[in-house]
């Protein structure tokens, strides 16, 4: 776990995770991706042990054990982690979800397209933006 992590992907659906990784890989962004399979793992990643700070978190909302919005709340509530950009990447386009995510401090809200090309484009754009274009505070 000592290796540097660029992207933390929190995704319980193995297929979606694989598709996401593939999309990132095509842009050569998948080298330092860490995948958590549920909310609890994600919280462990941040709050149990000295883990390198990722450049961006791609967070699904519907997660086993701890809900994605709860994970978001914990990240944004903690002084240590609150400056980490969190991009919500979910299938839900329900208005209440979008509203709550932004209220809790999400930096983006992306609805996963069903269409694979569109999905791949969205994921790789997000990766490119946050890893290459965005300048986080040092």
């Amino acid at each position: 776990m000592a290796a540097a992590v660029d992207i933390l992907l929190v995704e319980d659906n193995a297929n979606d995770a694989e598709l996401t990784l593939r999309a990132l890989k095509q842009r050569n962004l998948a080298n330092q991706v860490f995948v958590c399979r549920d909310g609890a793992e994600a919280l462990d990643f941040f709050f149990n042990g000295a883990t390198p700070v990722p450049k961006v978190v791609l967070l699904d909302l519907k997660l086993p054990k701890v809900d994605g919005l709860e994970v978001l709340r914990r990240i944004k509530d903690d002084a240590r982690t609150k400056s980490i950009p969190v991009v919500v990447l979910t299938s839900s386009r329900e208005e209440p979800d979008i509203e709550r995510a932004y209220t809790l401090g999400a930096n983006s809200y992306i609805v996963k397209p069903v269409d694979f090309e569109a999905f791949a484009r969205a994921v790789s754009d997000v990766g490119l933006y946050w890893l290459l274009l965005n300048h986080p505070p040092q």
Partner: protein, 690 residues
């Protein structure tokens, strides 16, 4: 003080009669007085003229003229009284004895010196009359005690010329003025008994006022009493005749008229007043009776009627009054029966209360709902029907409304809780109205038990929540596997392209197409179900501007078109609704119109509106593929399509969304069309208000 008609009428009539009587008497008195005055003024000159003529025609003048011609007298006078004295005396005595009225005879010379006299009349008393040369002349009247005398003188021989040389003198007789009984009677007959006739000297002895002597017309003067008089000279004498009539006598007929007529007038006035009083009583007593009856009816005795015993206007009034009273009673009974019918058959509770919050009306529905019988609640406070926590607000509300007319519940329908007689609480819906009643205010509430509705609502809310959870999982859980199918099929195609023969590649293409379509279907379905839950953010919406915005978007995304597309937007009235949702309606309809005109050489789309009664009908019309009118009702169903996906793509949700949005706005949507002749979609919206 306001006088009753019964008093006013006789009083008025009496005053009128008195006025007429006074006027009549005054005018009559004046007329009569004027007439008697005119009569007197005619009689008086006549009397004086007759009298004057009478005195002129006296016999004394003839006699004295004859005596003057007597030779004995003439001889005596020519002698200057010196001779023939006896013969003259004889002649004189002859005359004296002839005449009963004779008072004396005198013979004088022309200088007036007395030469000889006979009779009782003393010379000292006599008046010397200077006669004319050839005619006798009367002297002034002389009064001795109560007797009036006159002197008549005639000349004997001439006073000049040859006669003067011969000498002569004057013979003068003094006669007592004496009126025979016959003369008096005649005079009285001529002048009238009430006329006083005066004879006197023109010089004024006895002296009547100078005015009468100089006036040709009768005059008025005071002589003891007020007199009306006329004067005339007696021709040939220095005398005046005056006829006078006391004013009292002149005005006697007028006074007699007054004394005769006044009691008659008084009698007429009294009789008139009595008749007026009687008539007025006769007229006002039925009016009083009708008034009393009207008051009785107003007080609630609707059976009260008036006795009709007359055929005149008052009888008609009484009959009309009775008819009206019957009509009022009938109407009241009718409306009461109607009210009873409505309130007794109403399923809802209908309760009325006054401004003190006391119950004044209670229908069977209220009995059923609250469990109280009518007599248990009438006059009791409304608060007994509500849980304690509402009572203060209720009292406050009534007071506020009565004082300020500020309505929070009045005129609305609200949901509250009620309390039954047995103490149980239940949800109710109250529609409250306020109406002015007898100077105060009556509150009427229609109350409905909504326990069942609440239960249904709760059930509906539960099922809505379930539906929401369902659509959430559809949104989330159905899309993930779909994405996987699509994604891995694509990966297969991309990464293993070389190993797949053309048929395998075509089949993967089919998988690809259908997963895309499935994704679209899910998205549309979610969009549709979201509509049911979204709150309307209603406000004024500029429909014309909205149509322009949407049309621009449609033009921009319009692809695969063979010909031209013209979108015409007419002036559109504003609407009241949710701008985003109405934008969706406009968008779906215009997208549809664009889609179904895609193969037209000259595609025309028109957005317009028309008035229909109180609402605005908007429409979107195209000249596209149209549809079979038989299936018009299917157009708006979810996933209903009238064309194959090969012909026109789409999931069949667009019009269902249009219908749902329009209906949520309280509007209506419908379509007209014909295959290959275009379609027109209509929808109504409430017009912009407030």
């Amino acid at each position: 003080m306001s006088w009753s008609l019964e008093r006013k009428l006789p009083l008025f009539v009496t005053i009128l009669l008195v006025a007429v009587a006074i006027t009549q008497l005054t005018i009559g008195y004046g007329e009569v007085r004027q007439a008697s005055l005119a009569l007197a003024d005619k009689r008086l000159p006549l009397a004086t003229k007759v009298l004057a003529d009478l005195f002129q025609a006296g016999q004394g003048r003839v006699r004295i003229t004859a005596l003057a011609k007597d030779p004995a007298i003439a001889a005596f006078l020519r002698s200057g009284g010196s001779s023939g004295r006896e013969a003259a005396l004889v002649a004189m005595r002859r005359v004296t004895s002839d005449t009963a009225t004779n008072a004396g005879l005198e013979l004088r010379d022309f200088s007036g010196k007395l030469l000889l006299r006979t009779g009782r009349f003393s010379a000292a008393d006599s008046v010397y009359v200077s006669p004319g040369t050839d005619s006798a002349r009367y002297g002034p009247l002389m009064r001795r005690d109560t007797t009036l005398f006159i002197a008549i003188a005639a000349a004997v021989g001439g006073g000049e010329g040859k006669d003067a040389e011969r000498g002569g003198g004057i013979v003068q007789q003094v006669a007592r003025m004496n009126l025979s009984e016959r003369t008096r009677t005649t005079l009285t007959g001529l002048a009238g008994g009430d006329v006083r006739l005066l004879l006197g000297n023109a010089t004024g002895d006895p002296a009547p006022p100078a005015t009468v002597l100089n006036s040709r017309t009768p005059v008025r003067y005071e002589r003891g009493e007020t007199m009306r008089a006329s004067a005339a000279p007696v021709p040939g004498t220095p005398w005046m005749v005056v006829a006078e009539l006391p004013s009292g006598v002149v005005s006697a007929p007028a006074r007699a008229y007054l004394t005769g007529m006044a009691p008659l007038a008084l009698l007429i006035v009294i009789v008139g007043a009595v008749i007026a009083w009687w008539g007025s009583r006769r007229m006002t007593s039925p009016l009083r009776e009708i008034t009393t009856a009207a008051e009785a009816i107003a007080a609630g005795n609707l059976e009260r009627r008036v006795q009709v015993g007359r055929q005149d206007e008052l009888g008609r009034l009484a009959r009309s009054f009775n008819t009206m009273a019957a009509q009022v009673a009938r109407s009241l009974q009718h409306s009461e029966a109607m009210l009873r019918g409505v309130t007794e058959t109403a399923h809802d509770a209908i309760i009325a209360a006054d401004t003190d919050g006391l119950i004044r009306f209670w229908n069977p529905g209220a009995e059923r709902l609250f469990g109280y019988r009518t007599e248990e609640v009438l006059g009791k406070p409304l608060t007994m029907l509500m849980p304690e926590r509402f009572q203060d607000a209720h009292r406050l509300g009534i007071r506020r409304y009565v004082e300020t007319r500020e309505a929070r519940v009045v005129g609305r329908t609200v949901e509250l809780a009620g309390r039954r007689k047995d103490g149980t609480e239940f949800p109710l819906e109250l529609s409250l109205g306020a109406a002015p009643l007898e100077g105060g205010m009556s509150f009427t509430g229609v109350i409905r038990d909504i326990t069942e509705r609440k239960r249904t609502q709760e059930a509906l809310q539960t099922s809505n929540a379930e539906l929401e959870a369902f659509s959430y999982s559809v949104s989330h859980d159905l899309r993930a596997p779909l994405r996987a199918i699509h994604g891995f099929a694509r990966i297969l195609l991309e990464d293993h392209h070389a190993k797949l023969d053309p048929e395998a590649q075509r089949l993967l293409g089919v998988v690809d197409q259908n997963t895309r379509r499935m994704g679209q279907l899910i998205d549309d379905l979610l969009a549709f179900s979201r509509l049911g839950r979204k709150e309307l953010a209603a406000g004024p919406v500029n429909m014309e501007e909205l149509a322009h915005t949407v049309a621009d978007e449609v033009r921009r995304t319009d692809v695969e078109r063979k010909g031209s597309l013209a979108i015409q937007i007419d002036p559109l009235p504003p609407a009241h609704g949710d701008r985003a949702l109405l934008g969706q309606v406009m968008s779906n309809l215009l997208q549809n119109a664009a889609k179904f005109t895609r193969d037209r050489a000259e595609a025309r789309v028109e957005v317009g509106s028309q008035r229909d009664g109180g609402q605005t009908v908007y429409f979107v019309k195209d000249n596209g593929a149209g549809f079979d009118a038989r299936y018009a009702d299917k157009l708006f169903g979810v996933f209903q399509r009238l064309h194959s996906t090969e012909q026109f793509d789409g999931t069949g949700v667009g019009l269902a969304i249009v219908k749902r949005i329009v209906q949520r706005h309280g509007g209506r949507v419908w379509a007209e069309g014909k295959v290959d002749h275009g379609a027109t979609f209509y929808f109504t919206l409430p017009t912009e208000e407030h």
